[in-house]
């Protein structure tokens, strides 16, 4: 369904560990949104010197309520734009475009699934878990972060999943280590048929590698920096190998953010690998 541009309004903003959870009244988004899609928020107000929208995965939506449809996003303060968002107050206006991007694809049959989230990358996985459970899929969660305060949604994951495994780099919660250290065991225990992951690129790369080892299909939601979020600026591209074997520089905003793990050329992100459609052909040596 087509995205909308909505004059939204802050309903609430609160701290969740190291992150912020922003609830916006944004009618029209909730009824269109599917798990894995994102919204693009204008930052800095009407006369802002910050021109580019900030893209955030949708954490959850509510189609109606006291205030009409709402959409929730989770973010960390990284720069000026997110700092501005963290200073918003109730009733402040925020222009919202969404829902954007391709959602997670859901299995047609009840398959056991493992959902892997890194940092606030776990946010879009809860809506996905709900949709999977509606389809009677078993859901096992693996959530990891650098430290306990950077885990997002532990209680919610515990409530929704058959099992929850938590990892932190510093051991301040759950097992010390990375999600990739525990994933194999979870896959075996749950007899998983399908993996979903969202988080930083190195984590996605590790998850995709394990999925390949196990011969399991894996969907990853990538985080690439975007300028527009709607497919016109061509800045958020990454090399994706097509089923035809041809690598293309695809836009994570409209061709993603969800890709099949096996199609993302993780080792080549940030480059245009040789052989990519339209890549410069190396000039033959003149010697």
């Amino acid at each position: 369904m087509s995205p909308v541009q909505v004059a939204g309004e802050v309903l609430s903003l609160r701290r969740v560990g190291a992150y912020w959870q922003l609830t916006l009244v944004a009618p029209g988004i909730a009824e269109r949104a599917k798990p894995g899609q994102f919204v693009a928020l204008a930052v800095g107000g009407e006369h802002s010197s910050m021109l580019l929208r900030r893209a955030f995965a949708i954490y959850r939506v509510a189609e109606r309520g006291l205030y009409g449809g709402t959409v929730d996003v989770v973010f960390a303060v990284h720069g000026k734009g997110t700092a501005w968002l963290s200073r918003l107050h109730q009733h402040d206006p925020v222009d919202v475009v969404g829902p954007l991007g391709r959602p997670f694809r859901l299995p047609a049959t009840p398959v056991p699934t493992v959902l892997v989230g890194g940092g606030y990358g776990s946010a879009p996985l809860f809506g996905l878990a709900g949709a999977l459970k509606d389809r009677r899929c078993r859901v096992d969660f693996v959530i990891g972060a650098g430290s306990a305060d950077r885990l997002f949604g532990v209680l919610e994951a515990k409530r929704m999943a058959s099992t929850l495994t938590v990892t932190t780099d510093d051991g301040s919660a759950g097992e010390r280590g990375r999600v990739s250290d525990v994933l194999a065991e979870v896959l075996e225990r749950s007899e998983a048929g399908l993996i979903y992951a969202c988080g930083p690129m190195p984590m996605l790369r590790a998850v995709a590698a394990i999925a390949e080892e196990f011969g399991l299909p894996c969907q990853v939601a990538v985080e690439e920096s975007m300028a527009c979020g709607i497919g016109v600026c061509m800045t958020c591209v990454l090399p994706i190998a097509g089923v035809d074997g041809v690598t293309r520089m695809l836009r994570s905003c409209v061709d993603g953010p969800v890709f099949l793990g096996e199609q993302v050329r993780f080792d080549d992100v940030g480059t245009v690998p040789a052989g990519t459609l339209g890549a410069p052909v190396p000039v033959a040596s003149t010697q």
Binding site: L52, C228, C233
Partner: protein, 338 residues
């Protein structure tokens, strides 16, 4: 307060004033003067989710090249104060795919397609003009001789009046005679009027100005250039005064040459500045990234701004800032001067 939140399309609009917004870019007559900008609207399809493509004066496509092109590695973008740098490197599907999928799509929707073409040699520009010759739905050609993201940055045609003129002469000769050929100029020159005069003598029907300015950002953390392409094109409101100055200088030197003005237009009043400086139409570019419906909003705001200033028609306002100091302000809207 929350009850006031509505979807943008449903928002109550200011009643439109009765200003005639029609305009001409040489032989191309458009119902209004607001266009998209090359590289900021892809080939139109994505923005159709936010407004009707036929509502604008024209849809200016991302520059099309002969072959499919992957563009540059990432990072390709850096936000800067009131602007952004891009180093996309003309990623695109190539002319064959464009003619098969994109141009017919625009034509079907009643959009007036202004096709931007880019090449790395004169032969490539000529081949592109040949392939576009006689294509239905083509309203105008914008010849991008000024992209700062070409492979060899030393050879931006628009930085050399003779090279620029050679490209334009060759394209003009090959293109459909009734389709206007506009040259897109770079502000990164010492004398933009000299380049403008050279391409007009070479047969251009008008000028698009300005392309981005070459800039760069260094990441203080890595202490290296932030863009993979090192340098990039600066766009957005940060460059607007430069763009208005370029339009002003060229219109002053050649008042009869039609100009499609662009560079940091975000509001109707920004667009009005370009019109008053001498532009017959404007492109809304980078602002689309922050506000996908910006072009239709700018059109509405420009019409209102003209009405508020007593103009009957857009054409009366073109170049109006150049009037003598003692001229009557504004022109009498009823024209019943004695």
């Amino acid at each position: 307060m929350t009850g006031d939140v509505t979807l943008r399309p449903a928002r109550e609009e200011t009643p439109l004033s009765f200003v005639d917004m029609s305009t001409s870019l040489a032989a191309f007559h458009a119902p209004n003067p607001v266009f998209t900008a090359s590289g900021c609207a892809a080939a139109g399809r994505e923005l159709a989710q936010f407004f009707d493509q036929s509502d604008l004066g024209g849809i200016v496509t991302k520059s099309i090249m002969l072959e499919a092109r992957s563009g540059r590695p990432t990072p390709r973008m850096a936000e800067t104060p009131s602007g952004m740098l891009n180093s996309i490197g003309l990623q695109g599907p190539g002319i064959a795919a464009f003619l098969e999928h994109d141009l017919p799509w625009l034509a079907d929707r009643g959009a007036r397609a202004v096709v931007s073409i880019a090449g790395s040699s004169i032969d490539e520009y000529v081949a592109l003009a040949a392939k576009l010759r006689g294509q239905p739905g083509l309203a105008m050609l914008e010849v991008n001789i000024s992209c700062p993201n070409v492979e060899d940055r030393g050879q931006v045609f628009a930085c050399d009046p003779r090279a620029a003129a050679r490209v334009i002469a060759a394209v003009r000769q090959k293109a459909t005679p009734t389709v206007p050929v506009f040259a897109k100029l770079s502000p990164d020159v010492t004398d933009i009027v000299a380049v403008a005069e050279a391409v007009m003598r070479a047969g251009a029907d008008g000028l698009s100005m300005i392309n981005t300015l070459l800039g760069m950002v260094i990441d203080p953390d890595t202490m290296r250039p932030l863009l993979a392409g090192v340098t990039g094109g600066l766009s957005g409101p940060a460059i607007r005064p430069v763009a208005v100055r370029c339009v002003w200088q060229v219109h002053r030197a050649m008042p009869d040459v039609p100009i499609l003005g662009m560079g940091g237009i975000r509001t109707g009043l920004d667009a009005l500045e370009f019109v008053l400086a001498g532009a017959s139409a404007v492109s809304v570019g980078t602002s689309v990234f922050s506000d996908p419906s910006a072009p239709v909003r700018v059109l509405r705001e420009l019409q209102q701004a003209l009405g508020e200033r007593g103009f009957d028609s857009l054409s009366d306002a073109i170049g109006y800032a150049h009037r003598p100091a003692d001229a009557v302000v504004p022109p009498d809207p009823r024209g019943d001067d004695a």
